[in-house]
């Protein structure tokens, strides 16, 4: 190419933070490269056969009654109400989404731009979303929203379910095997909090003041303890807990179980009724609506293959397949769920479901460059409710 003043001018433009950006990106890309499974060089024919099989399966699925009913359901619900977004180009209201795909957690900003934070297996926001805590194999990692690692705690065995305590955010709890551990928000002072802990994510009690944590033990009890391990109260053994959820005002703790009855407790540990769900239906996810004690949950009936979303006892949506997530916007005006069978995110406007925004193509959105089947990402959090 001949000498060019235009080229010289464009190459001379100072691109902000070039080296820092390269360093951050390399950390993520290197992780993706390290995790890839190199395919055999002679495997092109096999891949072609797999691709043809996948395509055939997709065509069959699209032509099958469930496929048609999914399309029809979408048309019924959306026609005349809200357009389908061509891609995840914006969120309907303020806040940031945390989405977990096969590649790792993604931070999605209100304008729809997103960043892969690394190859972590799980993650959660700090109270004001200044940091995130993530886990990967034997490591607990605190990262900044741009992916920069702030600190790492390495344990002898795999870790999971790291959760940052509410404001002022002095503690992070996580599970290691059947133990529950706590580390300070600066990555120091890692210590054992409890043993015989069930594989259920611990739940910090919202609100400032005393730092209190709920966790489930392997004998079916739920324990509520201070960050120093002092037990405040515990339930009697019951149906196996699967999820622990606090209301924003910390006035209710919901224990989602494997059964039909999901008990509620007050902050002091008194029984406060229960959420009863129909026989033969699994609870996929649960959350309290922000600022209320209204419970939103997703039910799935394996026999019929139908899912429904219920809020405060009222059924908001139903459809073929599974509504995987119940995630409220920080202002409580939107409920977001993932719908793997339709490869969509559904933003459900509240109250009264007057608005419904569907965003298709979610697998591709969170799997750039991917080929073949990939699992549907999970929506973890929509940050941040205040106070937390």
């Amino acid at each position: 190419m001949k000498p060019s003043p235009v080229r010289d001018a464009l190459l001379a433009v100072r691109v902000p933070a070039e080296l820092e950006a390269q360093r951050r990106a390399w950390a993520v890309v290197r992780g993706a490269y390290a995790e890839r499974e190199p395919g055999p060089r002679h495997g092109r024919r096999l891949r072609l056969l797999v691709a043809v099989a996948v395509l055939a399966a997709l065509v069959a699925a699209a032509l099958s009654p469930p496929g048609r009913s999914v399309g029809g359901w979408i048309a019924d619900r959306v026609a005349g109400e809200e357009p389908t977004e061509p891609a995840l180009v914006r969120l309907p209201t303020a806040g940031q989404l945390l989405v977990l795909s096969e590649q790792g957690p993604w931070l999605v900003r209100p304008d729809g731009s997103k960043r892969l934070l690394g190859s972590y297996e799980g993650t959660s926001f700090s109270p004001r979303a200044r940091y995130l805590v993530a886990t990967e194999e034997r490591e607990v990692v605190a990262v900044e929203p741009d992916g920069t690692v702030r600190w790492t705690v390495t344990r002898p065995t795999p870790v999971a379910d790291a959760r940052w305590a509410p404001v002022p955010g002095f503690h992070v709890a996580y599970r290691e095997g059947e133990t529950l551990r706590v580390v300070e928000g600066n990555g120091k002072g890692d210590r054992l909090l409890a043993e015989n802990v069930a594989p259920v994510a611990p739940a910090w009690r919202p609100g400032e003041g005393r730092t209190v944590l709920a966790y489930a033990s392997t004998d079916g009890r739920v324990h509520v303890v201070e960050a120093d391990g002092q037990q405040l109260w515990a339930t009697d053994p019951g149906a196996k807990p699967e999820q622990l959820v606090w209301s924003d005002d910390a006035g209710r703790l919901l224990v989602v179980t494997t059964g039909r009855r999901h008990p509620l407790y007050t902050a002091g540990g008194r029984a406060a009724g229960a959420l009863e769900t129909p026989e033969g239906q699994d609870v996929l996810d649960v959350s309290f609506a922000p600022g209320t004690r209204e419970i939103g949950y997703s039910l799935y009936a394996p026999k019929s293959g139908q899912s429904s979303i219920v809020l405060a006892g009222e059924r908001l949506q139903q459809g073929e397949g599974r509504f995987e997530d119940i995630v409220f916007s920080p202002n409580g005006r939107w409920l977001l769920t993932g719908w793997p069978e339709a490869d969509q995110l559904l933003f459900i406007g509240l109250p009264g479901v007057r608005r419904l925004v569907t965003v298709p193509g979610i697998r591709d959105e969170f799997d750039p460059g991917g080929v073949g089947a990939t699992s549907f990402p999970r929506v973890l959090e929509w940050c941040c409710r205040a106070p937390r």
Binding site: A17, V28, A87, P368
Partner: protein, 182 residues
Amino acid sequence: MAGAGRDERAWVRGAQAGSASDFEALFRAHWPRAYRAAYLVVHDASAAEDLAQEGFLAAVRALDRFDATRPFGPWLHRIVVNRAIDWARARALRREVGAGETIEGFAAEERGAPAAPLPDDVVAALASLSPDHRAVVVLRYVLEYTPGEIARMLELPRGTVNSRLRRGLDALQDVVGRTEER
């Protein structure tokens, strides 16, 4: 082109065989231009970082089926620049940032950089173009593709590429002081 030629083919083959050092060499050879290209199209450093990163993640996923006899750069740049165009179009549609704010913000960023070698009006002239025009200018003058190659990368008629180049050069001409050759 950066990384083109024998070294690059060796890096691709090495990376396909599991050599982390070869993959790193490939990354370091191509990151600066991919990031710069994305930045000059979207005028947002954070978005450019995301877009360039997504391009490399796509490269990781597709590495095993990549034909090592072909150059890596065009494949990467096609992904990054097309995504950058989509991002910039989406932002324009949302009207979150008006054109004036874009130019002002972009220029202000440059003003704040002590080592910035260019006057603000070069940056502002580029920012005044549409994302599609910026992409063509960047592909031609930053990534050094021919108009024919650009047409294939963006799936555009050759004439459209030429007209966009002309429009882009017209906008930049006053700044650089002379008309460019094609």
